[in-house]
Each structure stands twice: as structure tokens, then as C-alpha cells.
């Protein structure tokens, strides 16, 4: 043994080991990297020893997780060294340092190819190893034929050929065309005659990849594979070194059986018989032994044999043998075998006829659900999920529900989802289904997606005999003290629709129901509040005889939310209040929802999609897909022949005829007169209730004006909450400092405070790249309590495209949230974007409108001007509208130097000395919009005797840019400290909220 002493490397590794903490380690690494970098840069004739040492150190550093962004060249260069020792290091470090996507690899292709086609066997090995480990598309295009030649060559030694086989496998993975060669399948078949087991193993790996892709054409390999298996299982002619704990190469056995599983079936009776003989021997002859490794190896072979038997659809007797073996496995102590037993039993489910025999092990599988090992619990869950059908659904789902309370976090979500799907797929009756889902929401509300509770609502709505039951259950759950919000949603909805059916049940009067729901109201989110408001109006309308006290209570709620900051809540409160005052005449509007057209469960759809995504080429997988698509749905509703929307209960007008039949059932049909035009599916926003109730939000004005002619003006433009927010009175909370000053400072800086009051500080950090900008808003809660109902709306002017990421509804005490805002500049303009920001602390809402410092100069980039360029450009642009000149008076007097500084801070780069007159400034900048970049030239001529006036000339090839820039600079010069950007965007040609804003003011 010769451990190559590389002292420098050892010393470095010791140093790293001796570091007390991460920081020290980083310092040591940085020092070393700096050292290596200088050596590479300065020392031309670096000795071989040093070169090797350095690249090993680089690899070590890289392995530890640090970035190494230099030295790749030096490493790759080692590959072309003439000495073996250098070449070896070059190859191995390159293959660890780079991956297939690095450009540097291209530099090496030629050298690598020369090594592959050269005569030196050791170099061939090095090159094949590199390509096999990190070869990408480039390699596969230029090297595949050479690699094939090596694999087929009879003069190459086994070591080269086995590397060539695996190298070709890699190239095939990157580009399947590499084996599109005439007669390749015959070649493969010949390769399987190889006696040397090392080469044969590599060839078998290649074959597995080829047939996994497409088995056609490789049929002649099947009998050879069977023969190889026979040779191995009978231990014929197996050299001692190729046995592993006495087992003839278990790996080759596994691979060979894997290859056979990619052929759809094996027809030839002789081959089939021979194969089954082998399989039988493996199934029967594998015993549990003491030695762990021997045991593992034997079972690796056994499990592969089981897979193959399943794939081949063996006769029933052999199948039940398999099930029996697996049944034994899932009860053993050895956890690996238990895990694999469960996993393979799940695969076994796909084989027809054995489901019944698997059910015998249900109790044992349920026990595994409580195994200490999460890997095993997952397998057990999967298996239970797979083996569930109508006969055992009740048991299994109830078992899952029970387990849910004790299950650890890592598995809960999956568990809840699977229980929900099973309950829906195999529910013996619908009462049970509703029970299960409500229990699920109760126990694991966080993991219940909206799809699941939509589905419950859909079932209850569509089944008359479920309605009273559902309402009663909802009442029971909502009476509990702490209830998950999803429960409030589903409970609130069901009680709104159906609580009147319980009117005679004690404790279920409308008033009591309202009290139960309303107790939860203060703690729920806005979308749920909106839903509850709808429930209230329904409860109120359905209460027979009318209860004035209840009416009073509910009206008070509506009135309280008439001025709510949230447009949806506000609209509902206002409209429901007005509707309910119309009295019983309106009762039809608030009638129960019509039945939903039957559609595929979104949940089942989702799982099917997921499985389709995970589609594997393996034959076993293909069968999985065929089997799961027969998901059944229990409801015995007639299938509507209207369009079937696959979506979570989106209650848009799915079939016009149906809607017409139920005239006056929904608000939509009442107000708009457009019910006969099928509307597009409501977008999947958070507006659940809008969907459920079929109150289509836009256009709200038409609904309100036809219904509430008495007060149309107050409702106009309700849909545009942002417009209303601007009308709010000055906030009661006062800012600490001047909003104007903050704004001005940010016009020339890229980070700082935008706004601050006793509760919140809004900071801002901006990055600009040509026409794009990214502004991050930092919303910091300074308060000891949480800030709620946080909303930020951006009102962009027409020339900016802005997108704000979601702003959380609540900011926890003393916490800061970051909200990135993406900006794209379309055109030059001085209009400003406004941030409409609101929050509440305690109960008091605060609303502020802030101008955002996304000003013209942010899209400028100073550009240095060469005198000749400047003059030629300047002359090329003649007169308005491209070159604009104006004498500006009333300028704040500034020394020429300060004025230069001001320009530079606006990203307009002053070119000193370009104008011979020292009282003049010449500057240049490039203005970037999405469409183009415009070079702008600026000249300022000052009058040393009167600094309050100057002559400004701005020239650019774009008239709009020239004008806007000139005006902008003028504004800046007139009053440096208080720029007067226009608050209200110019009114012409604007659309969207900004236009509304302009109109209102």
C-alpha cells in the first residue's frame, strides 16, 4: 500500500479539522483560495507537485460546500498533460468539480477523444471514466461511435470494455440516438455471450437502460438473459472473486431479472419454462441466514424475483406463494425486510386475483402503521390505501382517522389526504362520508385543502336526505370551543343553507344557530368572514316566523361592516343589508343553492395527474396507471350532460338551460340579464363564496343599481376598492417624520425609509437593471401586538408594469415581512406609482397612500461620453421635438460642483471638461424602456452672475424621452429638496385604477 504523501494537502486538511467553528473554517478556506489563485496567476512554471496539490485542495474545498469559481482552466489543462500522474488528477478532479452543463468541459472534448482513440489503455480508462460520470450532450454527439468501437473490440481488455459499456449507457441517457445504429440489437445480443462477469455486469446495466426505453428489437436478448440466470443460480463456471458471501454475483442476478421485466411478456414456451424453474428455485431456496450481508444479498435477489413473477402473470399457485412469502416478511423483526415486504405487497396489488389473499394481512399492516420507523409507516399507509375497497373501507378509514391524532407531523398531510380520498371513493353511505370528512377537518384542519370541503358541500347540496344531517353535525362541531377555520367555513356554509331544516330541534333555533356561528366570527380570516355574512343573510331570510331580535342582531353586523376596508366584505354587507330590508319579497334570492352538476372529484383528478406525471417506463408502473383510472364516484345523481368542469365546485353558470330553469335562485340571474351567456369559469381566486353563491362580482354596479335604486351613487364603483380607499380621510395615526422628505431622499437613493409611524415602518430597497427594477418593501411591525388586515395595493401609472408579491394579511409583533415588487418600464413618463397601504392595530384601521420613488431617473444609466461621439450625436439631433431647449428661471442657486453631483445622483453622468466653458455642464445617460434604449444628452449653461437662471438643453432620438427628461430635470432643479412630481397621473389615455383615481379627484 502506498498512500501518496502530499504534505501540503494533509496540513491543509488538519487545519480545517482544527477549526473551532464555521467562521474560522471559512477564513482558512478563503486564505487558501487566495493563495491558490495567486499561484495560478503568477507562477508560470508551476511544478507538477504543486499543481496537483492545488487542484486537490480546490476539490476538497468544493466538497466542503464552498464555491470555487476559478482554477477550472488549470484543472482541465491537467487532462492534456503527458504524464499519467497529472492526467489522472486532472481527470478525476474535473469530473468532481464540473457537471455536464459547464462550458469548460467543451475545452476538453478533443483531448478526451484523443485519449479514447489512442492506444494507451490507462488513458482510455481515465477518459471513459470522465465521460461516463459527467458526459453531456456534446460528448454524446462526438464520442459515441468511438466508445461503441471500444466496447465491441475484441482486442481491448475487460477493464476498458466494461468502462466503455457504462460510458455508452451514460451517453445513451443523454441522447438515445447514440444506439440508432444498424444491427445494434444483434451486437447487444452477442455481448451477452461474454464470459467475463465484470464486463457482463456492465453490459447488463446497458441493456436494462435500452429496454427500459424501448424493448422492441431486443427480443433476441431474452433467451440469453435466461441462460445467464441459469448459469448464476446453478453456480456454473463462476469464479470465486465474483461470488459475494457465497452467492454468485447477486448484482448481476438482480440486473438480469430487471431487464426481463421490461419485456411485456415471454412467449417462447421453452424460455418461459426455464425461467420459471429459475424463479421457483429462488423463491423456495432463499432462507434467512445469520450473516447480514449474505441475507441482504439473497433477499435482494428474492425481491427482484418476486417482481419478475408478478410481471409475468404466473399461474395462481405461484402468486399465492409470493403473497405468503411477503405476508411472512411484513411480520419479521428485521426492519429492511419489513419495509420491502410492505412495498412489494403494494406492487402485488396490481396483480388480479391476489387482493383477497392480501386482505388476510390487514391486521398486521395496520400494526405497521404504528411502527417506530417512519419509512415503514409510509409504506404501510400506501399499502392500506391501495388495498382499500368497498368491503374494508370503513375499517381502514376509521383506522387512519384514529391514527391521525397520534401521527407525527411528517406524515399527517399525506394521511389526511388519503383518508379523504378513500372516504370519497368507497363510502358505503353518504352519512358516513360526511362524518368522516368532518372528523378529518376537526382533527387535521390544516391539511384539509379547500377541494375536500367543497366536495362535502357538493354532496350535501345534491342529496336532500343529507341536508338536515349535515346541518346538525355542523352545529355540533361549531359548538366546540376551539374550531379550525375550515370547520367554520364548511359549518357556516351548511348552517346558512340548511339550518332552517332543524328549526324544530331543540337548541337549533335561528337565533341559537346565529349565536354559535357568530362566536367564531372575530377570529376568522376575511374570506371566511365574507362567507359567514352570506350565511347570516340566509339564516335571517329563512327564519320562520321572522324574528325581529335576530334581524336586529344581524343588521347590526351588516352595518358594522358597511365601511370595511375589504371590498368584498363591504360589498356583501351593504348589499345584504339592503336586500334584507326589502323583506320577504327577497326570500327567493336567498333560497337554497341549486344542485351541482355531477363532476369528477378534483381530489381524485389531482391524484391521477400526479401519477401520470410520475409515469415511469417500467411495465409495472404502466399498469398502475391503467388501474387507478377507474376511480368510482358514489353519488347516484344523474350525470348532467352540460359541460363538466373539473374544478373545485366552481359554481359558474355551467349550463345555461339549467340556470334558466331556476330563475331567481341566485343573485346573478336576478340582476344582470346576461345569464344566458355562459361565463368563463370563475378564476380560481380566493373568492370561494363568490363562486358558491354565484354572485359574480363584476359588474357590481348593475346589480346594485337595479336593486337599490334609492342609493345608487354610494355603490358606484364598489368593485374598485382601491378607488374608495383613496377617499378615506387622513389617517388618525401620524407619521414620524415627513413623507415628502423620505420620498425625495429615495428618488436619488436606492434604500431607505419610505414611511414610519408608531406602529409600522415601511422600508424600501431597490435594484435597477436597465428597464427592470425590483423594489423590496420591508414592512416592519414595531408594535407589541400583531398588525392585521394588512393590505398593499399598487396603483401603477400607465407607463409602468408593476407586480407586487402577496402581502401577508397579518404581521406578527416585532416582525418584518418582505414584499418584492417587480417593475418594468414601458415608456418615459413622470407619472408616479402610488402604494395604497392599510393595516389595523387593535381595531383601528389605518390607511396611507404613498408615492413610490419609481421615478424617471431610476431607468437612466450614466454613460461616459467621448468628446467626438458627443459632438456628432449632438449635431445629429436638431431642434424640437428631439432637442428641446428652455431657459429656466427661479432655480435654487447651486455651485456648479453641487449641480454636477445632483446630476450624478440622478444617474446622469457628467462629462467634466467636455464643455470648455467651466460654467456649463454636459452629461449623458441611457434611458431604458422595455422596447429600446435611448441615449440622452444634456447640456446646462449657467450664468455665473445670476445663479437662479440657466439654460437647459436635452436631446435624444425619442421625442417623448426628450420632453419627459427635460421636464423632470427642470423639476429637480427648481427645488432640489422638494421635487414636485405629479401625484395624479395625467388623465389622458389611462386605464385601470389610475384612471379611476384621476376621475375621482
Amino acid at each position: 500500500m502506498s498512500l501518496s504523501g502530499m504534505r501540503g494537502l494533509s496540513v491543509f486538511i488538519s487545519d480545517i479539522r482544527n477549526c473551532q467553528n464555521k467562521e474560522q473554517e471559512r477564513l482558512r478556506v478563503d486564505k487558501e483560495l487566495a493563495n491558490i489563485r495567486t499561484s495560478f496567476k503568477n507562477e508560470k512554471g508551476l511544478s507538477v507537485y504543486k499543481k496537483k496539490k492545488y487542484v486537490w485542495k480546490m476539490l476538497y474545498i468544493y466538497m466542503l460546500g464552498y464555491d470555487v469559481d476559478f482554477g477550472h482552466m488549470e484543472t482541465v489543462a491537467l487532462i492534456s498533460a503527458s504524464k499519467y500522474a497529472e492526467k489522472q488528477v486532472g481527470y478525476i478532479v474535473t469530473s468532481c468539480l464540473l457537471n455536464e452543463n459547464h462550458d469548460f468541459l467543451r475545452l476538453a472534448i478533443n483531448t478526451v477523444r484523443n485519449d479514447i482513440i489512442g492506444r494507451n489503455e490507462t488513458y482510455q480508462c481515465l477518459a471513459l471514466t470522465l465521460v461516463g460520470n459527467i458526459g453531456g450532450k456534446d460528448f454524446s454527439e462526438s464520442l459515441a461511435p468511438d466508445v461503441q468501437k471500444l466496447l465491441l473490440s475484441s482486442s481491448c481488455r475487460p477493464i476498458v470494455r466494461k468502462k466503455a459499456a457504462l460510458c455508452l449507457l451514460r451517453l445513451f441517457r443523454k441522447n438515445p440516438d447514440v444506439v440508432n445504429v444498424d444491427g445494434w440489437s444483434d451486437r447487444m445480443s452477442q455481448l451477452l455471450d461474454e464470459r467475463e462477469l465484470g464486463v457482463l455486469t456492465a453490459v447488463m446495466s446497458l441493456l436494462v437502460a435500452l429496454v427500459a426505453n424501448n424493448p422492441d428489437g431486443y427480443w433476441n436478448c431474452v433467451p440469453k438473459c435466461v441462460r445467464i440466470l441459469e448459469r448464476l443460480t446453478r453456480s456454473q463456471d463462476i469464479p470465486q472473486e465474483y461470488t459475494y458471501y457465497g452467492i454468485p454475483s447477486p448484482w448481476l442476478q438482480v440486473k438480469t431479472m430487471r431487464a426481463l421485466q421490461y419485456f411485456p411478456t415471454i412467449e417462447d414456451p421453452n424460455t418461459r419454462r426455464a425461467l420459471f424453474e429459475v424463479l421457483h428455485r429462488i423463491l423456495m431456496g432463499t432462507d434467512v441466514v445469520k450473516n447480514v450481508n449474505k441475507n441482504n444479498a439473497a433477499h435482494a435477489v428474492l425481491f427482484e424475483a418476486l417482481s419478475l413473477v408478478m410481471h409475468l402473470d404466473a399461474e395462481k399457485e405461484m402468486m399465492s406463494q409470493c403473497v405468503a412469502i411477503l405476508g411472512k416478511f411484513i411480520a419479521v423483526r428485521e426492519p429492511n425486510i419489513r419495509y420491502l415486504g410492505l412495498e412489494n405487497m403494494t406492487r402485488m396489488l396490481l396483480v388480479t386475483d391476489v387482493q383477497e389473499s392480501i386482505k388476510r394481512y390487514q391486521a398486521q399492516i395496520i400494526t405497521s402503521l404504528k411502527d417506530p420507523d417512519i419509512s415503514i409507516r409510509r409504506r404501510a399507509l400506501d399499502l392500506l390505501y391501495g388495498m382499500c375497497d368497498v368491503t374494508n373501507a370503513k375499517d381502514i378509514v376509521e383506522e387512519l382517522l384514529q391514527y391521525l391524532t397520534t401521527a407525527d407531523f411528517g406524515i399527517r398531510e399525506e394521511l389526511a389526504l388519503k383518508a379523504a380520498i378513500l372516504a370519497e371513493k368507497f363510502a358505503p353511505d353518504l352519512l358516513w362520508y360526511v362524518d368522516v370528512i368532518l372528523q378529518l377537518i376537526d382533527k387535521a384542519g390544516d391539511f384539509i385543502s379547500d377541494d375536500i370541503w367543497y366536495r362535502v358541500v357538493q354532496f350535501v347540496t345534491n342529496n336532500d336526505d343529507l341536508q338536515a344531517y349535515g346541518a346538525l353535525k355542523a352545529r355540533d362541531y361549531l359548538s366546540k370551543p376551539a374550531v379550525h377555520e375550515t370547520m367554520v367555513k364548511v359549518g357556516g356554509y351548511l348552517l346558512g343553507e340548511y339550518s332552517h331544516l332543524l328549526a324544530r330541534t331543540p337548541g337549533c333555533s335561528s337565533k341559537e344557530i346565529f349565536a354559535i356561528i357568530h362566536e367564531k366570527f372575530p377570529t376568522v380570516s376575511i374570506s371566511t368572514k365574507a362567507l359567514l355574512l352570506s350565511s347570516y343573510i340566509k339564516i335571517l331570510m329563512h327564519s320562520q316566523p321572522p324574528d325581529p331580535e335576530l334581524q336586529e342582531q344581524i343588521w347590526r353586523v351588516f352595518q358594522r361592516f358597511e365601511g370595511n376596508i375589504d371590498a368584498e366584505i363591504q360589498q356583501r354587507a351593504v348589499e345584504y343589508f339592503a336586500l334584507s330590508r326589502k323583506g320577504p319579497a327577497m326570500i327567493d334570492i336567498m333560497a337554497e343553492m341549486p344542485k351541482f352538476p355531477e363532476r369528477q372529484s378534483a381530489l381524485l383528478k389531482k391524484t391521477e395527474d400526479a401519477e401520470a406525471d410520475a409515469a415511469e417506463l417500467s411495465a409495472t408502473r404502466l399498469r398502475v396507471q391503467q388501474q387507478t383510472s377507474n376511480a368510482m364516484v358514489v353519488v347516484s345523481q344523474p350525470f348532467s350532460d352540460g359541460p363538466i368542469h373539473v374544478g373545485p365546485l366552481t359554481r359558474s353558470s355551467s349550463s345555461p338551460q339549467e340556470m334558466n330553469g331556476d330563475l331567481a335562485l341566485t343573485v346573478t340571474t336576478m340582476g344582470q340579464g346576461q345569464q344566458s351567456t355562459p361565463q368563463p369559469l370563475a378564476p380560481a381566486t380566493g373568492d370561494l363564496l363568490g363562486d358558491l353563491l354565484a354572485i359574480e362580482a363584476p359588474p357590481p354596479a348593475s346589480v346594485s343599481s337595479s336593486l337599490l335604486s334609492s342609493e345608487p351613487s354610494s355603490l358606484e364603483g364598489l368593485g374598485d376598492s382601491s378607488a374608495l380607499a383613496l377617499l378615506d380621510n387622513a389617517p388618525s395615526v401620524q407619521p414620524i417624520g415627513s413623507i415628502k422628505d423620505w420620498f425625495s431622499a429615495l428618488c436619488v437613493k436606492d434604500s431607505g425609509v419610505l414611511y414610519e409611524d408608531p406602529y409600522i415602518q415601511i422600508g424600501l430597497k431597490a435594484e435597477w437593471r436597465a428597464h427592470q427594477g425590483r423594489v423590496t418593501l420591508f414592512l416592519g411591525n414595531k408594535h407589541v401586538g400583531a398588525l392585521t388586515s394588512v393590505r398593499a395595493i399598487i396603483l401603477p401609472p400607465a407607463h409602468l408594469r408593476m407586480q407586487l408579491s402577496t402581502v401577508p394579511d397579518t404581521i406578527p409583533p416585532r416582525a418584518q415581512v418582505q414584499c418584492p415588487l417587480e417593475i418594468i418600464n414601458l415608456q418615459a413618463s413622470r407619472d408616479l406609482a402610488v402604494l395604497d397601504f392599510s393595516y389595523s392595530h387593535g381595531s383601528a384601521p389605518v390607511n396611507i397612500n404613498l408615492r413610490l420613488p419609481v421615478v424617471l431617473n431610476k431607468f437612466l444609466q450614466g454613460t461616459p461620453l467621448a468628446p467626438a461621439d458627443f459632438v456628432s450625436q449632438w449635431r445629429a439631433l436638431t431642434g424640437p421635438p428631439l432637442k428641446l431647449q428652455e431657459v429656466v428661471r427661479g432655480v435654487k442657486p447651486l455651485p456648479i460642483l453641487e449641480m454636477s453631483a445632483l446630476f450624478n445622483s440622478m444617474h446622469i453622468l457628467v462629462a467634466p471638461g467636455l464643455d470648455p466653458n467651466v460654467n456649463n455642464i454636459v452629461a449623458g445617460a441611457i434611458f431604458a424602456s422595455e422596447a429600446r434604449k435611448t441615449l440622452c444628452l444634456i447640456r446646462v449653461e449657467t450664468d455665473p452672475s445670476d445663479r437662479t437662471q440657466l439654460r437647459l438643453t436635452v436631446a435624444s432620438p425619442d421625442a417623448v424621452v426628450s420632453l419627459e427628461l427635460k421636464e423632470y430635470i427642470k423639476e429637480q432643479l427648481l427645488d432640489v429638496s422638494t421635487p414636485t412630481p405629479q401625484f395624479v397621473p395625467a388623465s389622458t389615455g389611462l386605464t385601470g385604477p389610475a384612471a379611476a383615481l384621476a376621475g375621482l379627484l
Binding site: Y242, Y244, E304
Partner: protein
């Protein structure tokens, strides 16, 4: 196919990594972080497989060192587990009762050996003897080159004396 091989110590220190699928440095760090969190916390009596991000990670602890390999979900787990053991046996033979320190200070050697055991994420050689022969041959070649270089420098040194 094996997507990567990671050797981590019980303290979560990386001892060796080899990636057969293209991962960027950032992704590599994430993988290592997540897997150490997952594997190092597992008790001794649990199975050797963890399911992680759609892949399976087969791992085995030898003294203070965890050997982890990630495979596709439909691959044969026990086969991979024994590849790990096969690799460990070869290391053991080469270093003579291998310990973590051997691998720390001779990580480059470990890379040479790994390259003879795995290639393209597949098992390359199942005979320990054959691997040992190849590695020994490599060592000899490097030694020879060194001696040649030494004698060459000696000659030059003497000539220029």
C-alpha cells in the same frame, strides 16, 4: 441508477461526495443539509431506507461514518445496500482496517477507488480482487513517475552543479 454518493460523519461533516446527476453547488449543499437532518437523527434499529423528494436514499452507518446513496424509487434497495458494503470492503482492504481518518486525509484515494466501483451511477465491478488490482497498478504508475521525476531532477541537479 445511483444519483449521488455521500459520506457524512455523525456530526454532519462531509467526508466524500460524488454526483452522477447534474446538481449545482447550491443544490448539492441543499441535498446534504436535508439528508443529514433526515438520516443522522434516525435511530439504530430502523430500516436502511428513507424516502426523500421522490428518490430513495439507502444508507448504512459504519462506526462514525454514514454512507448514503440515492436511487430511483423502483430500484432494488437491498442491492444498493450491498453496493455500499462492497465499497466499504474494498476501502477496508486497501487501507487495512479503514477508519474515518483514513478517508479524511486520503479522500483523493477514496475517489480513485470509487471510480473503479461505480461508473455512470451504475455498479462497475463486483470483484474486489479486480478493483484492488487496478488500484495497485495505478499506484505503481504514480510511484514510477515520481521516481523518474526524482531521478531526473537529480540528474539535472548534478549536471548543473
Amino acid at each position: 441508477m445511483i444519483h449521488f454518493v455521500i459520506l457524512i460523519s455523525r456530526q454532519g461533516k462531509v467526508r466524500l461526495t460524488k454526483w452522477y446527476s447534474p446538481y449545482t453547488q447550491k443544490e448539492r449543499q441543499k441535498v446534504i443539509r436535508e439528508l443529514s437532518g433526515l438520516i443522522l437523527t434516525r435511530g439504530p434499529k430502523l430500516c436502511n431506507f428513507v424516502e426523500w423528494r421522490g428518490l430513495k436514499v439507502v444508507y448504512k452507518r459504519y462506526a462514525s461514518l454514514y454512507f448514503c446513496m440515492s436511487i430511483d424509487p423502483e430500484d432494488n434497495e437491498l442491492e444498493c445496500l450491498e453496493i455500499i458494503h462492497h465499497f466499504v470492503e474494498i476501502l477496508d482492504r486497501y487501507f487495512g482496517n479503514v477508519c474515518e481518518l483514513d478517508l479524511i486525509f486520503n479522500f483523493h484515494k477514496a475517489y480513485y477507488i470509487l471510480d473503479e466501483v461505480l461508473l455512470a451511477g451504475e455498479l462497475q465491478e463486483t470483484s474486489k480482487k479486480s478493483v484492488a488490482r487496478v488500484i495497485a497498478a495505478q499506484d505503481t504508475m504514480v510511484e514510477n513517475a515520481k521516481e523518474q521525476a526524482n531521478s531526473l531532477t537529480n540528474i539535472i541537479a548534478q549536471a548543473t552543479k
